[in-house]
Amino acid sequence: MHRGATHLAATLIAVAGGATPALAHPHVFIDTGVEVIFDGEGLASALRITWTYDEMYSLVILEDRGLDSDYDGVLTEAETATISGFDMNWDAGYAGDSYALIDEAPIVLGPPQDWTADLTEGRLVSTHLRPLLPAVPVGADPLVVQSYDPSFYVAYRIVGTPLLTGRSDCTVQVFEPDLAAADSFLQQALDEMYGTADLEADFPAVGAAYADEARVTCAAPS
């Protein structure tokens, strides 16, 4: 009886944990543009990330700042200057929603630099540079760039073909998440933890499995 009750409780918590990410829904939609920059030695040294915000959130930000008061969707030059950096005031602990990995090993991304912002057709477009620390060689093993918010407050999707700057022997492809695979990955992670771990504390970090990602491969590691 006690065993049964424990089993039931564990199952409920597992189901609850599984349902929780799905119960979140995003309030902000961002189209992500990715540029991978190679240095003089052919190492991938930085990412330039472009975020195009949805019209609603753009309007909220503009109204907050009293910009585009004629509602024509175009900013004056002075207004453009004041909007720069509007999304670059990051809280401590905010990872920046961009992730880079090679062979599943995460690469540290430095704090954002060289940011810009503008308004295009009623949508705020910002860019920023994230250095790869350290710069990494890229060969047949893809450099993976992901764009996601672990809490899913923001829904990101990678749009367009990512740019590769500084090398001409590399190719890139964008992959949408394989939802069935992501779900089975979640299930597998839960099964592994089943009965052994505190699911509340150690809920598996599976957000990345649901993210759009760009995969960059090059002819030979350099």
Binding site: A16, T20, P26, H27, E55, D64, L179, D183
Partner: protein, 303 residues
């Protein structure tokens, strides 16, 4: 014929549940996400058109806001979970449940209006402060209310189970085995509670708890809309839009309410009466436990 129709409801719910379990809902969620992205953009366009004084802009805003409510509700959400769970786990009649679903959606819109206007008028809050209150105070509160509703279902199921057990041996002594009988005001002899009594048929307390639990969590889209329109000096249009979002949401919660009743009555039609009297408390405990576990998980994450 009626029985077949009812059992069909159970089948539909089981198929939907199976789809969800097998990951089929992921595709639907992705479609809902695309629709949300699309309609969020249109809502912004409608607000801008209204501000620019274009003719017909108000009607367009209300229409788009209604659509926003529908597609937002079509994604995963707490209100549906709660209404569905309650509809499955207690023998509430369809009309009261529908009324609860509608009231909850409209109350949710009213919460957004009160939050925004109390915030900007009384407290002079900025947008960050306001959305912060919605996310950091009201969200945990609503999750706590959800957990309470789940536990309430568990408690009621447990109590009904205990009454069943107490009543069972007494029944063996024939009609006048009074030892463990419950005597209600309306009836002389009762061999355990009837299904209707187990359910408590949507008492006012249940209704308030459900509506309150759902309404505590304002829709962020409505908050954005209200703030924007207030800042632009077209506040009344925003309030109208917020309630249009609520009505849009209600269409989906009403569908969930209907399906949950249909499925539950299907189960009643499929199982013989006495078996079901025993099964309903168990269903209540299981569903209540699930709701409480999901809510507790959400509550801990939202702190």
């Amino acid at each position: 014929m009626r029985r077949t129709l009812l059992i069909l409801g159970l089948a539909v719910a089981l198929v939907l549940g199976l789809l969800w379990a097998l990951g089929g809902m992921a595709q639907i969620e992705r479609m809902a996400l695309e629709a949300q992205r699309e309609v969020q953009g249109r809502l912004a366009g409608a607000i801008r058109a209204l501000r620019a004084g274009q003719p017909g802009a108000l009607a367009a805003l209300v229409a788009v806001a209604f659509g926003y409510g529908v597609v937002h509700a079509a994604g995963p959400g707490h209100g549906k979970l709660l209404i569905g769970a309650y509809g499955m786990a207690s023998r509430v009649r369809p009309l009261p449940l529908a009324a609860i679903a509608l009231a909850a959606s409209l109350a949710q819109a009213a919460t957004a209006v009160v939050l925004v206007y109390a915030g900007v008028w009384l407290a002079g809050w900025t947008r960050e402060r306001l959305t912060g209150v919605a996310d950091e105070v009201m969200l945990p509160l609503s999750h706590a209310a959800f957990a309470a509703i789940g536990l309430w279902l568990v408690w009621r199921g447990t109590r009904a189970l205990a009454r069943d057990r107490a009543a069972a041996p007494a029944a063996g002594h024939g009609r006048h085995g009074h030892a463990a009988h419950v005597h209600g005001p309306d009836c002389g002899h009762r061999h355990g509670p009837t299904a209707a009594e187990i359910a408590g048929v949507a008492s006012l307390r249940d209704a308030l708890l459900l509506v309150g639990g759902i309404a505590l969590r304002p829709c962020m889209g409505a908050v954005f809309l209200l703030l924007l329109t207030w800042q632009m000096g077209i506040g009344p249009a925003g309030i109208l839009g917020a309630f249009a979002i609520g009505l849009g949401t209600a269409t989906v919660t009403l569908a969930v309410a209907g399906l949950s009743v249909w499925a539950r009555e299907g189960a009643f039609a499929a199982l013989p009466g006495s078996a079901l009297q025993r099964a309903l408390p168990l269903v209540q405990i299981a569903i209540g436990g699930l709701v409480a576990a999901v809510a507790a998980d959400l509550f801990l994450r939202s702190l």
